[in-house]
Amino acid sequence: MRWAPTSDARFALGIVGGVVLFNVIIFILPLIYAAWISFHDRDVILHTQEFVGFDHYRLILTSAEAIAAILRSIKFTAVVVDLSLVMGLGIALVLNEDFPGRSLLRAAILLPWALSEVVTATAWIFIVNPTFGALTGLLHPLGLVAANHAWINENTALYWVAIAFVWHITPLGTLFFLAALQTIPDTLYQAARIDRAPPLQRFVHVTLPHLRPTVMIVLVVVTVEAFRSFDLLFAMTGGGPGTASQTFPMLIFRYTFEFSRYGLAAAASYILVAIGMIITSIYFLVLMRRRHYVNTGTLPFDADPRSPIAGDRTALPS
């Protein structure tokens, strides 16, 4: 086949087409297949299957065990999102300052995120181990806890895995915030100082408005990460003690690999996705009611707001 000079579009189509095909095979098809499974009840021993419609969905949404797992997931996510957002922003603000060794610290801060969740879990198991853990080792000599204090129990397990997950996920938020902080023009801070705004006011009037879109991104990413998180929980508590830290993804895992209830697991997975989407939509509705702009009017070359290079209309959906 001869490629005419005007075949740019065809060439582009060829390249995009490959990616689309790849995505359909590894992403769309399994999605459809999972939906199909969720509507059927399959017996792996007898090799029978039967169409059951929405029975699995109904079963999950009326099961006390599943509802408890969903609530646990929401609680876990809430703790993770709150803590990691505040800490991520705080660390980013510190790392945005100029001090010796800053670049080294910026690289080091990413480490917890680069570690696999299983490694993170293992490290935290050591930290909270009742007898030889670091926490007991630190606090027992001070007389604050007993020599074999059980850090992880039915009441605390969910919070400990949440804290471990915060440790793991916070650097991601820090990275986003740091990138956003660096796009804030220095002259805005100078202007605010000259307008006699004290540090807190400069943060409120210059930094925060600029970070708004980033807060949104970090919220969505961390929420999704936390809500579907499995590896760390599995490696750290396995959902226990009892079901104290059995979140919804943990329950889906058990449906699949302990009870071989594939239809039920597929239906539960769809419910997981739906809840994630609902939470994300709420963020958008609450945070993005007002149109928001980034970097407006600070570039010297965007004299005419109608010009295509005005480039300051990074409006996020209203």
């Binding site: 023009p185 002259t187 805005l188 100078q190 202007a191 605010a192 100082r193 000259i194 307008d195 006699r196 705004a197 004290p198 006011q201 009037h205 210059v206 408005p209 600029h210 708004r212 928001h292 702009y293 980034v294 970097n295 407006t296 009017g297 600070t298 570039l299 010297p300 070359f301 965007d302 004299a303 005419d304 707001p305 005005a310 300051d312 209309r313």
Partner: protein
């Protein structure tokens, strides 16, 4: 309102010196423009006065009170930035109101002052817009409004017009000059545009390489440039500068460039006390005329290029050829016709001739003959 005095002010960054032992006295209510090429340290001076930068040594006095260790929020200065730096998420009203809110001005007074500032700058109908909804000129007016809304001791301007197109720049020049008249405040304005400097300033401080080259009224820096860097920088075309030496030939002194010889009169010789040292001769494009009418005569050259400018035109005349060729610009009437390659004679009256010594300082006309 305040008089601003800079004493032996220096700012060094590791290896380089941005401002080098600068002395400058700016009177109360004066409009002073710091003029110089990029990187001459003028913006650094402004940041030092504003307090967003700290001097390595030296003093800054507001009305005799040293302020170099006072943070910017306590100096009570206003500043208009090159990139405008409006708060992007705030409306025009809130942008102008911000300094007053920080000063905890009561609501009724705040509203009154914001509207007064907006009306002064003719942006009263834009108060509910956000910066991205404004044109460049409107944004600059808002920035002026934010600076003017409180009563600072000093107004600082950091190349505020450089982002605007030529027409808007002309408009804003008038606007800023008017603002100075109305507010009667001390204005310190940084620019690399000598037109802005000549049209607006009470006095111009010409900067180069972190040093002050001349400080004087626009008329003075134009007609009596203290040295070569001022002569080159001031004037819409800059001065023609020819390097050469003074030589004595047949009992008379003459200036000898690589391709140009110009007779020097007794006054020039006396003023310059020329021996055989290196001399730079300067003459402005508008100080030259065509034809051998004036004295001294530059001799015959050839038309190299013609640049029509509408109201007048610039003729580039070349003397000599090859690497040594001297290119002299002459300003002429717009209707004079020249063809490239034509032979052409140039002359200048002695009062339009400047002589600079080896170190670049002006020798002729000397200050005693002013």
């Amino acid at each position: 309102m305040a008089a601003v005095v800079l004493q032996k002010l220096s700012r060094r960054y590791r290896e380089t010196s941005a401002v080098d032992s600068l002395d400058l006295e700016i009177a109360d209510k004066e409009f002073v423009i710091l003029l110089g090429p990029s990187g001459c340290g003028k913006t650094t001076i402004l940041n030092l006065i504003a307090g967003t930068d700290t001097p390595t040594s030296g003093h800054i006095l507001f009305d005799g009170r040293p302020v170099e260790h006072v943070p910017p929020e306590k100096r009570n200065v206003s500043m208009v930035f090159q990139n405008i730096a409006l708060y992007p998420h705030k409306t025009v009203y809130e942008n102008i109101a911000f300094p007053l809110r920080m000063a905890r001005v009561a609501r009724a007074e705040l509203d009154e002052r914001v509207r007064a500032a907006a009306n002064l700058l003719r942006i009263g109908d834009l108060l509910n817009r956000r910066p991205h909804e404004l044109s460049g000129g409107q944004r600059q007016r808002v920035a002026l409004g934010r600076a003017a809304v409180r009563n600072p001791v000093v107004f600082l301007f950091d190349e505020p017009l450089s982002a605007l197109d030529a027409r808007l720049r002309g408009e804003m020049r008038v606007e800023i000059k008017k603002l100075h008249e109305r507010l009667g405040a001390t204005f310190i304005y940084v620019t690399h545009d000598q037109v802005e400097a000549l049209t607006m300033a009470d006095r111009i401080a010409v900067m180069d390489g972190g040093r002050l080259r001349q400080f004087g009224a626009p008329d003075e820096v134009y007609h009596r440039p203290a040295n070569i860097s001022v002569a080159r920088f001031i004037g819409s075309e800059g001065m023609n500068l020819i390097a050469g030496r003074a030589v004595k030939r047949e009992g008379r002194f003459a200036f000898q460039g690589s391709c140009i010889t110009i007779p020097l009169d007794d006054a020039m010789v006396a003023a310059a006390r020329v021996g055989n040292g290196m001399v730079t001769l300067g003459v402005r494009p508008e100080g030259l005329s065509i034809g051998a009418i004036g004295i001294p005569v530059l001799g015959e050259g050839r038309v190299y290029a013609v640049e029509p400018l509408g109201s007048d035109q610039l003729v580039n005349v070349s003397y000599g050829s090859g690497d040594d060729a001297e290119l002299i610009k002459v300003r002429t009437r717009p209707d004079a016709r020249f063809r490239v390659g034509d032979a052409i004679s140039l002359s200048a009256s002695p009062s339009d001739i400047y002589l600079f010594n080896e170190t670049g300082d002006r020798m002729f006309p000397d200050d005693a003959r002013a």
